[in-house]
């Protein structure tokens, strides 16, 4: 038993899961609070990545570029919600189709504007030795970022006024409206938060995943599956499903082949949906 290899594989499994988690949290928030599966999530990630890339190419420091990317993508998401998604309240499948169309349009626009292969930025922060192998320190930073983002969203949803109101609207929209809560504005804010999170993900992942029009696609697909399998508990469910599915498939990839890892991911989601039709956390008392 090669312990060094195992240790490395575990670390890499954790970092892979962290990458997926950063990319997926925004999707989970939007799905949990609005019931909307945003099929354009991958393209929002791409939007953030290109924003950050353009900013760094103009000399903006990387961390500031990430913040800018989150902000721009959030504003863009709010606009999309106002113009398109707000008209489709209650029509879940239609919303899914519209977001699909939006994603396609964004993808083609990116191809037109940026071309198909774009320069990468180097990995900052050097590397670190773990178990006889070298792991880039930036990947470890990503684990920290993933944890931080989860905690931040959890606090946002439980401790702030916005969070309480948003969850009230999810529980019972009519009563919330009768109490004077503006559900439309809240939906807009929720979608903006989800988009900003996606934009941040694209920017933060730029050293690992170079910006390309289809960069978000693979991440987004795994994200959808993880979120739908997660169930109603927004933050904890997403964290649980991403960690287990993501690291599981990464371990299989380390010891077997990548294709097997991907197939395991899809297959496990299938099985989870069979056993828990409404998501893994469907029976949980902890609703967040």
């Amino acid at each position: 038993m090669d312990w060094n290899y195992l240790l490395q594989a575990l670390v890499l499994a954790l970092t892979s899961a962290a990458i997926l988690l950063i990319a997926t949290l925004g999707l989970g928030v939007v799905f949990g609070l609005m019931g909307v599966v945003n099929l354009a999530h991958g393209e929002f990630i791409m939007f953030g990545a290109y924003t950050a890339l353009t900013a760094t190419q103009h000399g903006v420091p990387f961390w500031l570029a990430c913040v800018l990317a989150a902000a721009f993508t959030g504003v863009f998401g709010a606009a999309v919600e106002r113009l398109l998604i707000a008209r489709l309240y209650g029509r879940l499948l239609d919303t899914m189709l519209v977001t699909w169309g939006i994603g396609l349009v964004m993808y083609q626009c990116a191809v037109l504007l940026f071309g198909t292969v774009t320069p990468g930025i180097g990995m900052p922060l050097g590397s670190v030795r773990i178990g006889g192998g070298v792991v880039s320190s930036y990947l470890l930073v990503l684990v920290v970022i993933a944890a931080g983002l989860s905690v931040a969203l959890y606090l946002l949803l439980t401790r702030t006024g916005y969070g309480v109101l948003a969850r009230a609207v999810v529980q019972d929209r009519t009563t919330a409206a009768a109490l004077g809560i503006d559900a439309r504005r809240l939906s807009c804010i929720t979608f903006a938060i989800g988009s900003a999170s996606a934009g941040l993900a694209g920017a933060v992942l730029l050293p690992v995943i170079p910006a390309a029009p289809n960069m978000g696609f693979a991440l987004a697909i795994k994200g959808f599956l993880a979120v739908v399998a997660a169930g109603p508990a927004i933050v904890s469910g997403t964290v649980l499903s991403v960690l287990s599915l993501g690291s599981g498939s990464a371990m299989v990839a380390s010891y077997g082949s990548r294709v097997l890892g991907d197939l395991l991911f899809f297959g496990a989601t299938l099985l989870l949906l069979c056993r828990f039709p409404l998501g893994v956390t469907q029976g949980w008392r902890l609703k967040l």
């Binding site: 290899y5 490395q8 594989a9 890499l12 970092t15 892979s16 990458i19 191809v111 071309g115 198909t116 292969v117 774009t118 320069p119 990468g120 930025i121 180097g122 990995m123 590397s127 006889g132 192998g133 070298v134 792991v135 880039s136 990947l139 690992v208 995943i209 170079p210 390309a212 029009p213 289809n214 960069m215 696609f217 693979a218 991440l219 990464a250 990839a253 380390s254 082949s257 990548r258 294709v259 991907d262």
Partner: protein, 423 residues
């Protein structure tokens, strides 16, 4: 009030639906009437079909390929055309979408009655066009690097096959770096077959493949691959990532500092604009074998380059697929002149009689039995200025595998693709 009443339906909805259906049927009918053909008219110029990916993910290659075809056709016309007729290009943009290829191919052979088809970058595109060319008895030229092994009476392949590129590359790399090889390739035909050839030539050179990894086309995170490469400690890595993510691998490889400890060789890096897109640190040191580099020094290439720059400007590198297309067009023209006709059977016979061409990448010859090219291979190493330095030139590299398996002179009805054992 209606003259024809279909509305004795059990519900109001059904009545609406039936009326809507009649409307639909009428629309369909009208649409078909609108498609009645205009009278056909004979055309004086002879047409060739061009189906390349001018837009979409593959347009780096497709755009250059179609430009090369136009350049070649202009060159042919400048010399007086073919058999007294000018050559005209019918162009279609496949938009990097596979389902467009059979559609446009069919349109070109049926509507435009092209004398030859040029097109396709990926192997799947070629496989989509091949049966159309056969069914319509049209010649098809596929001009791109690929995994090798195609044996089809109507298809001529002017790009390098994987075995051609790898035979010289592996021999060179084993001599230069050492005998332990790690193979990393995309998990589809091109990748798996190339990996099989690496094994074969490693065996011939007395080297050993210490690890193989196949990655899905969508992967973006290469950390586990880097980890495995480190654990295997090879002398050099053969890297064949495909897609927009190939740059990611190069970057992560360089960032892990692996370039100092082992060599890295490839057969597709530099075939497009990868060397420009990837950071200079990641480009430096990568060794590639291709049949064409822009910096090749011979009179044909000088002329070709200046014609290209004049027509299309200075900005982009001339990719090897472009030169493959140029060669294909010139070979076709030569065959037509030799045959004295545009008829498919006669031109094919001329092509199979052994044609040679002074191409921008040196002299090339079409091998009659396999429909592949005997051509030069160049080995180059990336430098820190996002360019390549030519390291070696091996002339007259035969497509040995294709020549061995495919004999279209003795068995002209073949239409298959041979793959090495184990793939």
């Amino acid at each position: 009030m209606t003259l024809i009443d279909f509305s004795h339906a059990p519900s109001v909805r059904d009545a609406r639906r039936t009326r809507r259906t009649s409307l639909l049927h009428g629309l369909l009918l009208a649409a078909c009437c609108a498609l009645m053909p205009a009278a056909a008219n004979a055309a004086d110029p002879v047409k060739v079909g061009s189906i390349f990916d001018l837009t979409g993910g593959l347009n780096i290659y497709g755009l250059q390929q179609s430009r090369a075809l136009r350049l070649a056709v202009d060159d042919i016309n400048a010399q007086g055309g073919l058999l007294g007729r000018t050559v005209e290009v019918v162009q279609a943009d496949a938009q990097s979408e596979l389902n467009k290829y059979p559609q446009y191919a069919n349109t070109m052979v049926m509507r435009d009655r092209v004398a030859a088809l040029f097109g396709g970058l990926t192997s799947s595109a070629r496989e989509a066009v091949r049966p159309v060319a056969r069914r319509s008895n049209t010649l098809y030229f596929y001009s791109s690097l690929y995994e090798g092994g195609v044996c089809d009476s109507h298809t001529f392949l002017t790009g390098p096959s994987a075995s051609q590129q790898l035979s010289v590359l592996i021999r060179w790399a084993v001599q230069r770096y050492g005998k332990r090889i790690y193979v990393m390739a995309a998990d589809y035909n091109f990748g798996t077959i190339s990996a099989a050839w690496v094994r074969e030539y490693a065996r011939q050179a007395g080297a050993e493949v210490v690890g193989v990894e196949f990655l899905p086309l969508t992967v973006t995170d290469y950390s586990s691959t880097i980890q495995k490469i480190e654990a295997a400690r090879p002398s050099f890595v053969f890297a064949l990532p495909v897609g927009a993510n190939q740059t990611g691998f190069m970057e992560q490889f360089a960032a892990a500092g692996l370039g100092q400890r082992m060599g890295i060789v490839s057969t597709n890096f530099g075939s497009g604009n990868q060397q420009i897109v990837v950071s200079p640190q990641a480009t430096a040191g990568v060794v590639v074998s291709l049949p064409y580099f822009e910096w090749i020094d011979n009179p044909q290439n000088k002329a070709f380059r200046s014609a290209w720059r004049q027509a299309y400007g200075e900005k982009e590198p001339i990719v090897e697929a472009a030169v493959d297309v140029w060669n294909a067009a010139q070979l076709w023209a030569a065959a037509v002149r030799k045959a004295g006709a545009f008829d498919t059977a006669k031109v094919r016979a001329a092509l199979e009689s052994g044609l040679e061409l002074k191409a921008p990448n040196g002299p090339v010859a079409l091998v009659p039995r396999s429909h592949h090219l005997r051509q030069s291979m160049y080995i180059a190493q990336g430098n820190a200025q996002r360019g390549f330095d030519l390291v070696a030139h091996i002339p007259d590299v035969e497509p040995v595998y294709e020549n061995e398996r495919c004999d279209l002179l003795k068995q002209p009805a073949q239409a298959t693709q041979f793959t090495p054992a184990g793939t």
